[in-house]
């Protein structure tokens, strides 16, 4: 149906065989890209008999290049002092919140330093490393092993009659 056409050139001289099609943003009707059918109607075919799918070409109309590049429109906005900096504030706010939280934590620990007693934790940790035989300095080879005296070896397995 010709009423569905969003653009009509009007009658052109066929002998020219050429038409300069100027694409404007209005053609996209708010979309970024659209698939468009280009059809030609000779003057011996009436509007109600015209079938756009008889002689046509399909092409895609797009707003601009698909690469993230500053467009002429964006440049014009920047020149006018208008910029969309929403992403910039979001990107800045995240590290700012982290820094504020770290500073607050530091002052909280600093103010409560006299009410904090963690010696039990420290003793426990030191005792864990002293569960070796002899002096610690003599057992460098086994310093990472929680070695125990021989008498403390497990004796829970029962010996069978054959072993006796």
């Amino acid at each position: 149906d010709l009423k569905a056409a969003f653009f009509s050139s009007g009658w052109l001289k066929n002998v020219d065989g050429i038409y300069p099609l100027e694409l404007t943003a209005d053609f996209l009707d708010g979309a970024y890209d659209r698939k468009v059918l280009l059809a030609i109607q000779p003057d011996n075919i009436r509007d109600d008999e015209f079938n756009p799918w008889e002689h046509y070409v399909l092409f895609r109309m797009i707003m601009g290049p698909r690469v993230a590049k500053t467009t002429k429109q964006q440049k014009a906005l920047q020149d006018a002092g208008i910029s969309d900096d929403t992403w910039y504030y979001v990107a800045l706010s995240i590290p700012t919140v982290v820094v504020i939280a770290c500073v607050a934590m530091y002052f909280f620990l600093y103010l409560n330093r006299s009410h904090r007693d963690i010696h039990n934790v420290k003793d426990f940790a030191i005792n864990q490393r002293r569960r070796v035989l002899g002096k610690f300095k003599d057992f460098k080879k086994y310093k990472k092993i929680n070695n125990r005296p021989y008498s403390e070896l497990p004796t829970h397995t029962k010996k069978t009659g054959k072993q006796n």
């Binding site: 653009f7 065989g17 050429i18 280009l38 109607q41 707003m63």
Partner: protein, 207 residues
Amino acid sequence: RRNVIKPKETTTTSEIPKPWLRTIYSGQKEVVTPTVIAGVTFSAKPLATTNGLEPWISLDQFGSPKTKRPQIKGAKTKDARPDYSTYFKTVATRTLSYDELKAHNMEEDEVYEEEVFTDEDDTYVSLNPIIRCTPDRYFKKGPAGDISSEPFCTPKENKELKVDNTYFVSWYTKFFQKPDTDETIENVQLHLFYVKESIKDKGLKKR
């Protein structure tokens, strides 16, 4: 290290081509006003002297104009002007009898049929510097690439045309003819329609 490349100086002009006078049919005078569309000057005044190597305008697959400058390389001309063969000529069949020809290998009751090509009236066609669409420049379209693009030559199928640019739609002028006579129709109209696309057509559907 490499030498600094100095950009070549480009000259631009805002000069509007002036109208010029020409003589058309039987001494009739006509004032021709050149127009510039998308950088292409239509109805420009022809050069006083020609050497056959004048620039001409081609169209790429999008329909954007490209200037071609013919060059003679060896015995061949590179980027020569397009040859339209007989696509824009009118063909007529002339019948000649034995009495007219007196050919020694013809019978007396035999007739000889000859195709005669008549050049088209280039009064207005010659003002167009852009390459014309002919059937040998049709392309294949459709999902299988098996449908002829007739009568269009540009733009080609599924090309991305950008907003704020001008593209030349070109078609073969002798494609549409009146059914009762072989005359070419006088006017055509171009229409643009939106085509609804499924996600699958856009290539965004998950398998």
